[in-house]
Symmetry: C2
Subunit: 470 residues, 2 copies
Amino acid sequence: MPEVPPTVDLRLDELHGALVDPALTSMNFLNEVAGRYPDAISLAAGRPYEEFFEVEAVHRYLDRFCRHLAEDLGHPPDQVRRTLLQYGRTKGIVHHLVAEHLAVEEKITVDPEAIVVTVGCQEAMYLVLRALRADPRDVLFAVAPTYVGLTGAARLVDLPVLPVASGPAGIDLDDLVTQIRRARAAGRRPRACYVMPDFANPSGASLDVPTRRELLAVAAAEEILLLEDNPYGLFQLAPGDRPPTLKALDGDRRVVYLGTFAKTALPGARVGYVVADQRVGAPDGTVGWFADELAKIKSMVTVNTSPIAQAVVGGRLLEYGGSLVRANEREIAAYRRNLRQALDGLAARFPPDDPVGRWISWTAPAGGFFVVVTLPVPADDALLERSARRHGVLWTPMHHFYDGGVPVRALRLSVSAVTPAQLEQGLDRLAALLRTELWRSRADRAVGPAAEETPESLPRLDRRVSGAER
Amino acid sequence: MPEVPPTVDLRLDELHGALVDPALTSMNFLNEVAGRYPDAISLAAGRPYEEFFEVEAVHRYLDRFCRHLAEDLGHPPDQVRRTLLQYGRTKGIVHHLVAEHLAVEEKITVDPEAIVVTVGCQEAMYLVLRALRADPRDVLFAVAPTYVGLTGAARLVDLPVLPVASGPAGIDLDDLVTQIRRARAAGRRPRACYVMPDFANPSGASLDVPTRRELLAVAAAEEILLLEDNPYGLFQLAPGDRPPTLKALDGDRRVVYLGTFAKTALPGARVGYVVADQRVGAPDGTVGWFADELAKIKSMVTVNTSPIAQAVVGGRLLEYGGSLVRANEREIAAYRRNLRQALDGLAARFPPDDPVGRWISWTAPAGGFFVVVTLPVPADDALLERSARRHGVLWTPMHHFYDGGVPVRALRLSVSAVTPAQLEQGLDRLAALLRTELWRSRADRAVGPAAEETPESLPRLDRRVSGAER
């Protein structure tokens, strides 16, 4: 809070209501805690691994993309300069390289004209939600717990987000159908369901292939879109084939695919994209891409995505022939190492026969950045505060990923951005916190699971726990 | 329109209403015409001059900014890499350099914490409008004709924009007061008035200093904010002191200042900013910057502005000690040359005693990119189409800058992005078009001014015409 006299020029309660919504304020709170404890080990932020960052690569990628324009596309020098430095195409300048990447790596075949390159995946989500929210009847569904950036974007366009149970499969399809029909019966208009099928943020859960196919069938039957967000798909724990994305299985354009290069290229480029190949019919009978409607909105939000930033991402895609798996070989190895270390480290620190360990369980994700730890006490903001102050370790209280302010007995660990030494120390500190706190809870006679306070999804997620029936 | 079968997945009339609003579709139409006639000379796009663009400068600026982080701010190498390449501060990483620039060049003293660095000025506008539009009563005022990016952003947040007459002073303050009070009497809540005090887009009009002071007084008396947009302030026609911005005169934080580096650094960086030093009071008694509320919204729209793109702009600011006048010496000379050439060229082609020239007048802006030419016939989209097809010259029909679809007998020439030879040829082609069309109109007996079809602001602007009483 700046040191200003108490004069007030504007009143918060006369600004847009989203500004006091937990979806927007929780991000601020978490950043603020992190800012106050800069020396704490952060198992909170879902950032990519930093060891291999190099500024020199930015220069190299820029040059690589300029060579591509000149040599592959035959642009004269003044056109290369204009492409990189002038205002440009609203839908982007690396759309053809994104399409090539999707073909090479995800078996998604898409016309480059159906792609909008955006300022990170966040803008992609925002544009889609803004387009879909036409009137107050509209509602969106999302598997709970939900990425807070989705909920926040929905708040800004006044679009309610109705939670769908995750269940053992990562999405409870019966619940989805029930929720859709209940909403319709109440006069609402279901537009889409948001889902992260691979190593979801925050749950870490993934959908198996039959579930993916069933979800597509439900979407078709219920006439809703699926918003597939896939930031972590490349980062599976065990080498081998990756399951197809929903978009790769999408035979009838049900899926709007949200992509980002923040985790696979550089967060600092802030480049993402949306594949929106749906056909939009206008009252005059003309038909165009949904991508073109999103571009109209984008032209009024950010005009276009920095072509310099796009060129950086484009250069990286070119350098690896569109394969982000190859581009991220070292990073993928680091994520596997960290995730294994985290899971082994939790098992070592909380054995099932331990007086504290018996109350603690955690997910065993098949990849991605996140492990969810379930406690017998609420992992609230006060606990995080004590964790940072007394124990020097940061994590994310899971209640931030649920609407409604119900206490949640779980926390999210992010293992992507730490070194092995930091991770080890972070787990030590977490163990010290939990031993202290559970002792305290026992003294308060409040220990033990209280199922009624835990969102439906978490106990089920716990079935994936590494320590079997714990 | 892509060649797709007529199957339809989504209906345009079930998407957000802004998508069929002229504010969003006109940009598309204008781009589409330009795309169909790539060989036409464009006096349409308000783009900066390209002659001095160099890719090498991007590399140099990036390195300059990294040196600044390391040497001036003492950041170790891993922190420099993290600042440039990782997720970062929502409000930006060049805020201190923006504040320095504003102090050096605009005599605006502002706490860097009250600045949000944005994805171009467009995002700055969008964030401010999103924050201010809290409920359906809220309305915004804007001097007509209005920059279409403002109107489009307002549509996306469902905020009505009520036009204020420009009048001989560039803003008719009596009309502003009348409009505000009328809106209040109708139960609406006036939030702000959007204004470009320097060489406005599209009118080219500027406010003199007494008008600026009076406008601030009106804003204070009527308790509204002023949204000052200043993309062209540096580009005055005659050398000498520039008038102070509204923000420089703003004693009580009435002004939200919208800035861009698209015209003064590189459009391809897509970096702008907003100065929002208003104090926002929360119901719990805490007080914070309006900038921090805008940052909360930004975190859900674009997360942060690409730090790589910010570094490019930061490097340029550092290279010139915060002075964009010095950084743009060559560009400013080119804009002066072009604007003079355009005004002289119009005078030479349309002398007042000429059978066609007597029906044509134009503004004499004191700087900026734009000249508005008033015709005796509507400058509609069909005329633009004929101009592109038959005469090979593009311009912007002024009706796109007014709400309501009334025919407007004026067009905007943008003289910023052409070479002298292109400008000369473009004016020749425009003259050929107008001679053909006015002859045609005469044959149709439709020639001659029809004041009732011309928005109030245009005839008054014509008092500034270079050819005196024409």
